[in-house]
Amino acid sequence: MLKLFNLVFISSYLFSGVAVGHHSFTSEFTAEKVITLHGDIQQVWFRNPHVRYLLSVKTSEEESVTWDLRGSPVVWLARKGWTKDIISLGDKVIVEGYPGHDGRKMLSIIKVTLSDGTVLIDRAPE
């Protein structure tokens, strides 16, 4: 069961909330699907112009694959209480977002769920 938990769960579904960002990643990401990744944080870049995390994800063959997670600018996230120390190296997280085009291991973050159940949402004000 634990192994199963460590597997990559990629589920596509339509996202129905108001999501956000400030400028485009159209060239980098696709809105055709939303995927969910389970993994460990490898690297944290909490800086403008874009917050970036590297996430280590285990495949079904037990290989580690690194995903490049991209978020909004620091000012955008900080206003929502999403600060530098809220996600640290080694943290186990579940991330939902728009994947990169052509199978690129990139993800535009919609939502991060921390191991204590805290949910961080990368979205604009209503």
Binding site: G21, H22, H23, S24, V75
Partner: protein, 347 residues
């Protein structure tokens, strides 16, 4: 009861009569289009023309697909959502009593999902939509911190480009050529249309706009007619603001070359950007119409609309920028030489 039946009969006869009265040529001209999303109302300038026996149309200065048959109309307009994903809205409707009315629905994948909803269009009265407010504010009344809403702006995606504009866009690489990913100022008009808060300060006959995004400062002169000698072109240009009734009209020239938004359409050094700001009667809502006049690159003037609400409970946050998150992955992916080779295409 008899009277009621008679009334219903008359109305039933009149409705198709009115519908039949409209013909294709009644669609021609400028309309103000209003579209009702579940949470907001979008406003846009719709221009319909007959060109070589075919109908052509433009929304906010950008081309849309259009079909007209008798009193029926269908429009397909592209847009991009706040994450930058491009989608379409399909609008269908009828012209009845000099007004177009119908329903629209979203097509294509987008982060912001829209439920099908109503739309309508009435004849344009030459940009008077924001000037019918009774109150003329004092200059200092627009001072304060303003937070963007998602009202009004159609975020029309494609624009009507000149050949020069098309040639430029064809070679532009979004992301790699964007100024902001390498922490360079995006300048005007993009900065005005971004969703980050900004602050207006009025003092000594000038407005100072403090934009949170990229921590940019912009000066709008109220008493100075033209830029000082040797003032260099810049991403903010030289802005002159005058009150016309209840609108603060800002015209900006002396711009440095930049791109209109992430898509990479060019803004030339000859561009003039007009912004028309108006304040709601209660002083809590600020609205802007933003028009780009750049004949070098655009056959029609691109239009954006923005709305902000006064927000005393926030502050403009500092914005420091480190382009490592752009350069290092590019180096790791072996794209650095490509980036260097493209240097002449960036500014």
């Amino acid at each position: 009861m008899k009277n009621l039946n008679f009334f219903i009969r008359v109305i039933t006869l009149l409705i198709p009569c009115c519908i039949l009265q409209a013909n294709e040529f009644d669609f021609e001209g400028r309309w103000i289009l209003s579209l009702q999303d579940k949470k907001r109302t979008l406003i846009g300038l719709l221009e319909i023309e007959k060109n070589d026996q075919a109908w052509v149309a433009y929304l906010e200065g950008g081309p849309v697909e259009i079909n007209i048959k008798q009193n029926q109309i269908e429009i397909l307009a592209d847009s991009r959502d706040v994450r930058g994903f491009v989608f379409n809205r399909r609008l269908t409707g009828f012209l009845v009593n000099k007004q177009i009315q119908g329903r629209y629905q979203q097509e294509g994948a987008a982060a912001q999902k829209e439920e099908p909803g109503p739309w309508s269009a009435v004849r344009d009265r030459k940009h008077k939509s924001t000037t019918n407010l009774p109150k003329i504010p004092k200059p200092e009344e627009i001072s304060g911190i303003w937070t963007a809403t998602q009202e009004l702006d159609f975020r029309k995606y494609s624009m009507s480009l000149t050949q020069e504009g098309k040639d430029w866009l064809e070679q532009y690489l979004p992301y790699y050529d964007q100024p902001d990913v390498r922490c360079t100022s995006i300048g005007l008009p993009a900065l005005v249309t971004y969703s980050f808060p900004f602050e207006i300060i009025f003092s000594n006959g000038r407005y100072t706009f403090l934009y949170e995004y990229q921590s940019k400062v912009r000066r709008i002169w109220a008493n100075t007619e033209s830029p000082g000698s040797f003032m260099p072109p810049s991403r903010m240009g030289f802005s002159k603001g005058v009150w016309e009734g209840n609108e603060l009209v800002i015209k900006t020239q002396l711009l440095e070359k930049t791109v209109r938004d992430f898509r990479g359409e060019l803004i030339s050094e000859n561009a003039i950007i007009e912004e028309r700001y108006s304040l709601s009667e209660d002083g809590q809502t600020l609205t802007a119409l933003i028009i780009v006049d750049d004949p070098d690159n655009y056959q029609r003037k691109p239009i954006r609309r923005r709305q902000w609400v006064r927000n005393a409970s926030t502050e403009i946050f500092p914005y420091s920028c480190d382009p490592d998150s752009f350069y290092i992955p590019m180096y790791q992916d072996g794209e650095m030489q490509m980036y260097i080779d493209r240097s002449p295409l960036r500014f």
